[in-house]
């Protein structure tokens, strides 16, 4: 029989712990290893960057490419105009994004409803996703942006921004509905069984147990679709609306210098990165709060 701790130390809850030599050595080793890893990463990054730089700069057409694509003067001229145009993209993203999430969720729920009464709803939802996922976005946009005004309907807007936004929402709702549906179906049946056993109705089980898990699990693919939507907001320019891409386009048409496109491209990238990091952070925080701990 072994007693490994004296009673008094226990009862007081006091912890007279001092790290052993073994722990100190182990942690020193881990620190050294992590320093080495950081150093290797830094060196490898530097080497890669230098090699890439040299390859590009020594390309035979570099001076000419530099002049047409990376011209400082045109960049300065284009930047404020592109930013101005980007405001339209951002507004479109928020309005369409919200509409897409709501509509996509409704369609996904309609597709997962059981019971014969809901057959028409299920059928319509399935037909909707089949049609709009298959229809190329650009054709959808042209039909809505150019076709709807041609009908000359009373009280229907002819604003290319609103019409373009509608077309984007139609297509993206179909994609997002499928993402949600995949999430709903990935929740283990035992979860629904447990919820129904507590007396929750089918609807309550969906609302309080299935959907929260489904949505959480689908955050990365949803974000993927939102980023894609953000870029596709540039397509509303085919109806004549001036967004970031169109603003760059105007300057390019006038100057025959492509730098504004690079500026517009970088601005879009800069918009996406914080969004991705934010979502990563949110999911990581949720995981940490639920996880059991452990490293495997």
């Amino acid at each position: 029989m072994t007693l490994t701790k004296d009673e008094t130390g226990q009862e007081s809850g006091g912890d007279s712990y001092t790290p052993s030599q073994r722990r100190i050595e182990r942690e020193a080793f881990k620190r050294a290893r992590s320093r080495r890893a950081t150093a290797i990463a830094a060196v490898s990054t530097l080497v890669t960057a230098v090699v890439l730089y040299l390859v590009v700069v020594n390309a035979p057409g570099w001076p000419r490419t530099k002049e047409t694509f990376f011209n400082g003067q045109y960049a300065r001229e284009a930047f404020p105009k592109v930013l101005e145009g980007l405001w339209l993209n951002v507004r479109l993203l928020f309005v369409c994004g919200a509409a897409v999430l709501v509509l996509g969720m409704l369609i996904a729920i309609a597709r997962t409803l059981r019971g014969p009464v809901f057959f028409p709803l299920r059928f319509l939802a399935a037909a909707y996703t089949d049609f709009f996922r298959g229809l190329p976005l650009i054709i959808n946009l042209m039909i809505v942006v150019l076709g709807v005004p041609a009908l000359r309907l009373q009280g229907v807007t002819v604003d290319p921004v609103w019409l373009g936004g509608t077309a984007l929402t139609l297509t993206y709702s179909a994609y997002v509905a499928e993402v949600f549906r995949a999430g709903i179906e990935s929740v283990h049946p035992s979860q629904r069984a447990a919820a129904r056993s507590l007396g929750l109705s089918n609807r309550q089980a969906l609302r309080y147990v299935v959907l929260p898990q489904a949505v959480r699990r689908q955050v990365p693919p949803l974000l993927n679709d939102l980023v894609s939507l953000q870029k596709d907001t540039g397509l509303v320019s085919i109806g004549g609306a001036i967004d970031a891409v169109r603003a760059a386009d105007i300057i390019v048409g006038r100057s025959l210098n492509y730098t504004p496109y690079i500026v517009a491209g970088l601005v879009f990238v800069a918009l996406t990165i914080p969004m991705t990091r934010f979502t990563d952070w949110v999911t990581a925080r949720m995981d940490r709060r639920r996880a059991q701990g452990g490293i495997a």
């Binding site: 029989m1 072994t2 490994t4 701790k5 226990q10 712990y17 182990r26 080793f29 701990g293 452990g294």
Partner: protein, 252 residues
């Protein structure tokens, strides 16, 4: 695998904390080959954490753990190589629901140990047969009862012929009828000389099957001895109190 008395698993002054709470404090443990060690104690006393540390699923804060004389808590140790030699059975089975029983069992032998498919499947079927699951090889885990799932989980752990088997409250999720069928399997494994460490609430079973019993409370091993010593004449007041409650509850 030698039959010397060198312990299969040895822990020395193991300490594990989660944030501010100390889950394991100065834990020493030695598990001799072909013996069964039972960890007893209330829920939250650190039994499961101790097993998770032995399998390197948790990183310990201090102390050291040896497997067959090799220090596995050394940061230079190959964790996967260590885990290849240890089988684990979890309380909640943790079977892979997207694989059949046979695929669950042959996954590690085929992918990790490089055993040929035919050989792995034959071995798996033999084990299933022995555990009375001969007809279930092509079923999916969700279609089996809890007791059957837990026996499949045991087969999965055994399929790689581990040096040491860790059993983490493997009957806790089962109803009494099914507990028996799982415990019979453990009893048979002991007969075959498998070295095991099990965390359990089944005191009667621990008493019957264990060569060594450790009583844990608040992360400290308060008492350690043979089953007769611990259950017959516990020396520590905490152990006496714990076992007293168990007897009161009619579970011993």
């Amino acid at each position: 695998m030698s039959d010397t008395d060198a312990p299969v698993l040895r822990m020395e002054s193991v300490r594990k904390t989660f944030g501010d709470s100390v889950v394991l404090r100065d834990v020493d443990l030695e598990v001799a080959p072909h013996t069964v060690t039972a960890l007893i104690g209330a829920s939250g006393s650190g039994k499961s954490t101790l097993l998770r540390c032995a399998n390197l699923l948790e990183e310990i804060d201090d102390g050291a753990i040896w497997l067959d004389g090799e220090e596995i808590t050394d940061p230079r140790a190959d964790q996967d190589a260590v885990r290849r030699r240890i089988g684990v059975v979890f309380q909640a089975y943790n079977l892979f629901p997207h694989m059949t029983v046979l695929e669950n069992i042959t996954l590690a032998p085929r992918r990790v140990h490089g055993v040929a498919r035919a050989e792995a499947e034959q071995h798996a079927r033999e084990l299933l047969e022995r555990l009375g699951l001969g007809g279930k090889a092509d079923e999916y885990p969700d279609r089996l009862s809890g007791g059957q799932q837990q026996r499949v989980a045991i087969v999965r752990a055994l399929a790689v012929r581990p040096r040491l088997l860790l059993l983490d409250e493997i009957t806790a999720a089962l109803d009494p009828e099914l507990v028996g069928e799982v415990l019979n399997v453990v009893r048979d494994l002991k007969g075959e000389g498998m070295t095991m460490v099990l965390a359990t609430h089944e005191m009667g079973f621990a008493r019957e099957v264990a060569d060594q019993v450790c009583f844990l409370d608040s992360g400290v091993v308060h008492e350690r001895g043979t089953a007769e010593q611990i259950f017959g004449e516990p020396q520590q007041e905490r152990t006496q109190r714990f076992l007293g409650r168990i007897v009161e509850a009619g579970r011993l």
